[in-house]
Symmetry: C2
Subunit: 455 residues, 2 copies
């Protein structure tokens, strides 16, 4: 009986450099704009928020950026992560396709997020920063940054969307276990928090508000910087260890993907698996279909507008050109909390516009079904976010079955679902339904996009 | 800055055989007795409960038992597991000791339990069994057997202690995700369940009751067998992949342990790390201190009586000679749910009596503190059970500091705490206290031990 096979990369083959897609893009990214003047900003404008080393990465067009040895020392605790040939899933689907998945759930935080949390903490430490402030929605990013802070002896304050803070006490406990402070947002600790609470004392918060609070805190103190868990170029850059390892492992397996699949919230795990392959495609003209899988309830790439927008609710971040549902858009409740952001990484938005990748939106019920099928045949229970990638891969495998073609499909299983058992509990209890955004609300949010003359 | 180091064993060095301590014991185990006649029973008496292949392992004195290839095929998905040199923990403790830990949390169930669930499901499948019934307390074993059932296409029914069933819906969801059926015990499905419910309609259940229910179900149908997640010889046997891998990895590290530490509930993860080393000690006379860490609230090895007792509450299992608090003993509530069993594996009880291992009981607060310290320096959040081993190792390292001796300490980190965040939430909220068993209750339970003439 053919069984699922693991391709384990030896530690000495762990990547020494991050791969920067900016070096291979046929057209450069649109520049970020100042939130007030709408003029392009230089790297120095980001200095209140990030250490210079990260800003340099944010704007770099170098193809390869060295991974510092202290970062590799910590990566090494769980990297290289395994890549599997999903033979049991193939048999279950009765597909001629060969399905591979890279598994990031073996990190101490259970997801891919530490891949960027660790270097972000490292560069802040190098710059003499003693405190990092961030926001978190579902809590995966907050707990990963808390872990990274513990590794480098940096204080971490996390503004957690209030509704999640209440509903997900376990994520908060994880952050506290790593020594971070976790605050419900909106809070009384920031000007914008107090303003929102004065107007809406019962505010549930939002990712956009939490970002505004964290940014405000970072801008106020010299010893404090801000950190973001997705969206920005340097964050996507750090995740490319995933795809680089996958390339080496696929070579061990003697296969090259025809199709690469990832789920997208802000875009970082998708970039991690896809960018190294996309770079090879751009340089070598290799045929490759790349598919981003997003939730139908927050369909940034498939329903958003490609336009300049703020990264936060308060309008304090630079304007970035990206697929956006509008910074005031509030997605309905659904269980893949990591995929609820109103925008999309500018670099992913850019390659979508260039026709280099495709995007598909899935409903949560079909994703949970795919996730449960996957757990039963492959043994790993995926995080609700990751079930979108599973669904995307399964659909491609079923197309292969129909067409009788033996394509090679690679997807990123970005995290395990052990923290998300409430979602599975609700799913099995029949309490989950498909949820779609409100079209009127979307149009209203899109109508409030800042009008930028440069567009 | 010296960092924690991972010793990764390549897949081709994964053990091909389980190690059987029975081959090296200076004295044989006391035989199990029939629950009614109190006469020694032969292997055939276990046939209603287990497939013959497992019974043969239960009574075997062969030193090495081949691991079937289909079992290795599934082990391979997460084995060999990593072994770490805890350099950051050493620095944190400022100890000359060299601390190593084997990490079993990388399995799909997050603990060591699949090491035996997989072969148990395999041998049942080989024997034509289509359904396995088991009990679970906290749920780690139930979800691991559910996983194994999914891998081999066997139906799994889990009787889960009612109080846990209510308090831990996430564990139940995990079992259901793997396709198992999870029933609150006592249930209406068994004679003993109905009897208990008739007398105590509000019964919270206990592990002993759940075992009685599962055993009753298994004995009734030819297509159904029973499975146990710890205690029995064959279960301990399967876990020896842990220690065998650790020996190879310690060799890579160029070290040999002076001290081996594990936590004990039924004893299986402790046996996994310790037995291969104990065998080497018995054969080669090598000096080695082996330490079992148990909860002060259920102190089987340190306060139990070494006597014949039932494995369950209903008195339906064979009598086993073991350290026991009495099968009617109910431990007070504490958070390491996997360490709540009234008895101890007969083989571990036996070597304790022979003076080959030591045992220490710890309170939960000191264990949680050690667990949180560990998470902050090593990055991995331990399961509450595993914090007992962490505490045991830390104590030994601090003794080294005091004495100025550089001993080599190896412990088993048997699982991650991602399913146990309620415990950490309570800990951080200051809601946890130390709990000790009731001495009167213990004496009562010990007074009810079956009187066995053979003793």
């Amino acid at each position: 009986m053919a069984n699922t096979v693991k391709y384990e990369l030896s530690e000495d083959r762990m990547p020494r450099q991050w791969y920067n897609l900016a070096a291979d893009l046929p057209e450069p990214l649109a520049p970020p704009l100042h939130p007030g003047t709408h003029q392009p900003i230089g790297p120095e404008a980001l200095e209140p928020l990030f250490p210079m080393a990260l800003i340099a990465q944010e704007v770099s067009t170098e193809r390869h950026i060295e991974i510092p040895e202290p970062v590799r020392d910590i990566y090494r605790q769980w990297r290289p992560t395994p890549l599997y040939r999903a033979r049991r899933l193939e048999r279950f689907l009765d597909t001629p396709a060969r399905i591979y998945y890279k598994y990031e759930g073996v990190s101490p935080a259970g997801s891919h997020k530490p891949n960027t949390a660790i270097p972000q903490a490292f560069y802040n430490k190098e710059a003499g920063i003693t405190r990092i402030v961030t926001e978190t929605g579902a809590g995966q990013w907050g707990s990963s940054l808390a872990l990274a802070g513990a590794m480098f002896g940096i204080e971490v304050d996390v503004y957690m969307v209030k509704v999640s803070f209440r509903q997900k006490p376990y994520r908060r406990a994880m952050m506290e276990a790593y020594g971070a402070r976790c605050v419900a947002s909106p809070s009384e600790e920031t000007e914008i928090g107090r303003k929102i609470l004065a107007e809406h004392p019962d505010s549930n918060g939002s990712l956009g508000i939490a970002i505004s609070e964290a940014v405000e805190q970072a801008a106020q103190r010299d010893d404090t910087k801000y950190a973001l868990g997705s969206v920005l170029n340097h964050v996507l850059l750090h995740q490319t260890v995933i795809g680089q390892e996958a390339m080496a492992q696929m070579e061990m397996a003697g296969d090259y993907p025809d199709i690469v699949v990832g789920c997208t919230g802000g875009g970082s795990n998708f970039a991690g698996i896809a960018f190294p392959y996309l770079g090879a495609k751009l340089r070598e003209g290799r045929d490759l279909y790349i598919k981003a899988c997003e939730p139908a309830a927050c369909p940034t790439l498939t329903r958003g507008k490609y336009a300049y927008d703020f990264g936060d609710t308060g309008g304090s971040t630079p304007l970035m050109k990206m697929h956006t549902l509008g910074s005031s858009f509030m997605p309905p409740g659904f269980h893949a909390g990591g995929l609820r952001y109103h925008g999309m990484a500018p670099m992913i938005s850019h390659i979508k516009e260039l026709g280099l990748i495709d995007a598909v939106a899935y409903q949560q019920l079909e994703c949970f079904k795919a996730g449960v099928d996957f757990a039963r045949v492959e043994g790993i229970l995926p995080a609700p976010e990751a079930t979108h990638a599973v669904k995307g891969a399964v659909d491609e495998a079923l197309k292969c079955k129909e067409a009788g073609t033996a394509k090679v499909i690679l997807f990123n299983l970005c995290g395990h679902g052990h923290f998300d058992m409430q979602a599975y509990t609700d799913y099995f209890a029949g309490k989950l339904t498909d949820v779609t955004y409100d079209e009127n609300e979307l149009q209203t949010a899109l109508g409030q996009l800042p009008s930028v003359a440069a567009e």
